[in-house]
Symmetry: C2
Subunit: 464 residues, 2 copies
């Protein structure tokens, strides 16, 4: 159902005029502590799903929270219209907030903080990843419906509650709801702008393999005076295993790790170079100055097109105040690998486990826990929806939308392709300095506002 330019302007004007209402809804949604990885917040995840269902119903969607073995998936269908079918994805769950003492404000109270340059930050857990981004689309639908009485295309929303905790229940859910989720193109709002002025469509994403390992030595904690030297120390064993994961040139030392890794083609490399990414500024923003990782590769190349291995957490022995001369019985680490195109998560997981097993001393043992995995994805850049979206973004931002890669992993894009046969357009308005997963996460008010306006234009473009 094509929109006239008057209708488009009316929808954009509605979004502008009702920003206070949109912000109030964002405030309500971030106040719900939907930390999916921590079982203590299970009820909060359900509450976030219920809130979305109620909100979507209020604007004419047929919406419900579908149970899964984990947190629910919210599915909502807009009115049937003549035009293409769009499947929109975002997630309503958030990361834990620790270390809580580093937050300047309550992580669950949306706080507007005006910066010296006039930019307004919306500070709270999940504003950028991903509740604020999720609502840009919902608010765009609201503006379109309020001004045109319907939506320009057939829209189905699929809002996940386990993106931050492995997301293992989404693929079976997608498979079970294949008919209901049929569409012509998928949209995902969980990525960044290239910079505050440049919209972008992410066409390459790294995949991930997440593992937890526990090294078990003695069957009880030991006194380091009585046993030190003679008894194997699992902290030492674990540290040696972790140290063994990287070569001195910064490459990952797991056998076969790079077997399926291809160099990025020259054209893509050239297009990335033209983006003017500033390695130094990127690191300086977080208090660093020297790129780690593989020697001789730029920051952009490393985070967009090279796999990595990161130690996300490790713990063993006494870690409280003061000192305790203990040799602990066990030590553990959470380790993840970011993958690039053609790397097989199962193969990498197996190679990692073999690498670890080969380094566990004879009378110690290791326990592995899987925390999810997904391959990298690459979206074809020639499709019609991508061209339409790119033009719509250019209209809103006044400049060409960049086609970029991202170092993060958004498994759902791969799931949509594999299970639903859909190509995904990854369009988001977050910024690299949004501190997602960290204390004081924020989303720029401008991201939120222009994000809503961008979706209005993109949906209108699809209907044209």
């Amino acid at each position: 159902m094509p929109l006239s330019s008057t209708q488009l302007d009316a929808a954009l004007g509605f979004a502008d005029a009702h920003m206070a209402d949109s912000l109030a809804r964002l405030r309500d949604l971030v106040a719900i502590k939907s930390i999916s990885t921590d079982p203590a917040y299970k009820a909060e995840c359900q509450r976030a799903a219920d809130w979305l269902v109620a909100d979507l119903k209020s604007e004419g969607f047929e919406a419900s929270a579908r149970p899964t073995p984990g947190h629910p998936v919210v599915v909502a269908h807009g009115p049937a219209v003549i035009g293409p079918r769009v499947l929109f994805y975002a997630h309503y769950d958030v990361q834990p907030v620790d270390p809580i003492e580093l937050w300047n404000t309550d992580p669950f109270v949306l706080t507007q903080v005006t910066q010296p340059d006039g930019e307004v930050h919306l500070v709270a857990r999940g504003t950028s990843d991903d509740k604020g981004q999720l609502l840009t689309f919902v608010e765009a639908c609201r503006a379109l419906r309020a001004t045109t009485g319907t939506l320009p295309v057939n829209i189905t929303l699929c809002l996940e509650g386990e993106e931050e905790s492995g997301g293992k229940n989404l693929p079976p859910f997608l498979a079970s709801a294949r008919d209901e989720l049929k569409a012509d193109v998928a949209l995902v709002c969980d990525t960044d702008l290239l910079d505050p002025l440049t919209p972008s469509i992410t066409t390459m994403l790294r995949g991930m393999v997440a593992e937890e390992i526990e090294i078990i030595c003695a069957d009880k904690d030991l006194h380091s005076g009585m046993y030190g030297n003679a008894a194997r120390n699992p902290n030492q064993v674990l540290a040696e295993i972790i140290a063994s994961l990287r070569n001195s040139d910064g490459s990952v030392a797991v056998a076969g790790f790079y077997d399926d890794v291809r160099e990025v083609d020259a054209a893509t490399k050239a297009s990335w170079q033209s983006l003017g990414f500033d390695d130094e500024a990127f690191l300086k923003d977080v208090g660093l100055s020297i790129p780690a990782g593989e020697t001789g590769r730029s920051v952009l190349e490393q985070t967009w097109s090279r796999p990595t291995c990161e130690i996300n957490g490790m713990i063993g022995g006494y870690t409280g105040d003061g000192f305790k001369t203990v040799i602990p019985a066990k030590a553990s680490a959470k380790i993840s690998f970011r993958l690039v195109a053609d790397m097989d998560p199962d193969k990498i997981r197996a190679a990692f486990r073999a690498h670890v097993r080969a380094r566990v001393p004879a009378d110690c043992s290791v326990r592995f826990t899987e925390h999810g995995g997904s391959p990298a994805i690459a979206v074809p850049t020639g499709g019609v929806y991508l061209q339409q979206a790119r033009a719509a973004l250019a209209d809103e931002w006044g400049r060409q939308a960049a086609l970029r890669a991202s170092g993060g992993s958004i498994p759902v894009a791969g799931d949509f392709k594999r299970i639903l046969g859909l190509d995904t357009l990854l369009i988001g308005y977050a910024l690299a300095d949004d501190r997602i997963h960290s204390p004081n996460e924020k989303y720029n008010l401008k991201s939120f506002h222009k994000g809503i306006r961008s979706w209005i234009r993109v949906l209108a473009a699809f209907a044209a």
Copy 2:
């Protein structure tokens, strides 16, 4: 004031007859949660000191709790008599109780558990280390006074409250109380029997250097998707530093670490071999089978006469339930070195710090926190008090007392030598399987009972 054999028998009989009272006092003392390393338990440490003062006063000591910048030192003087002066040391503080979920009973409730072999275990935090041992001496004094009206020798008690947390306030206190603590010999009750049937006097103890290091990389936690590879991961840096502390032959890799380490002389080695220590059984007791540490050295040799480096705790990043793809801003570890004779704690600390600093990448930083240090000690084995004590122990246990070493560190023995010019006899009744510093710590009822009787005999022997 020499005791007749009738008087000695009366004192021993009194101890036997009043075991229930002695156990009730042990129950009361272990109920006080005097965890010195955790500031949350400061008042409990004071309460333990006050309890001891009241108890010692009730049996005729002039006792008081002396304030220090940390927890108080309890000092008590027995009645002046004709005879040698003895300074007795033990400590009333205990280790933390975590992991609390591994305790079978409340760590602060003295629980008597009868074993299949009829042995009775006194289970609670501190029964073995060191409240039960402390009370063996106090109860011995009580029995002697109850039956002879006085004590056979001049006794001063010095009971510390910071042995488990670095003990940095004891040396200045000893220096300030030098005149008051003057004695002919010091007794310390904080060591083990060689085995359940063999009393022993420990003549060699390892020293210790305890350090905490914190590796700081970025100025905030980062998302591993966006920064993974490009940003330095402090978990990885810390693991590499820890891994670098040991060579592949199990020796400590800090430069100069073994410079002052001498091999144990042939006579001592021979005497240790005669003790019939079973490496395999020692490790099997804790679920291990293969000695770690330096290749080609026995467990006894390694724990008694070789220095070590142990990672007592390490933590970095997300360690809760589930998974969080974070690159943390920092990671830290608690690391201790056990030292042998002639190693200088200051020199080892400096060498360790240099080793670490050389491995911190250019734009990361390291912060060191000192957690105490003390040299190893060796007690001359020819002194008259040692001979008298050895004979008294043989009378009680029916077999020769072993002269042994220990892998633990008891800094006070060095302090007594350095500050008070005193040689120390280390006599204790704990056992290697007492699970000190671990869940379900216990002290055998037999250790407690025969410990009391042993001290009665030792004090009587000093008065002869």
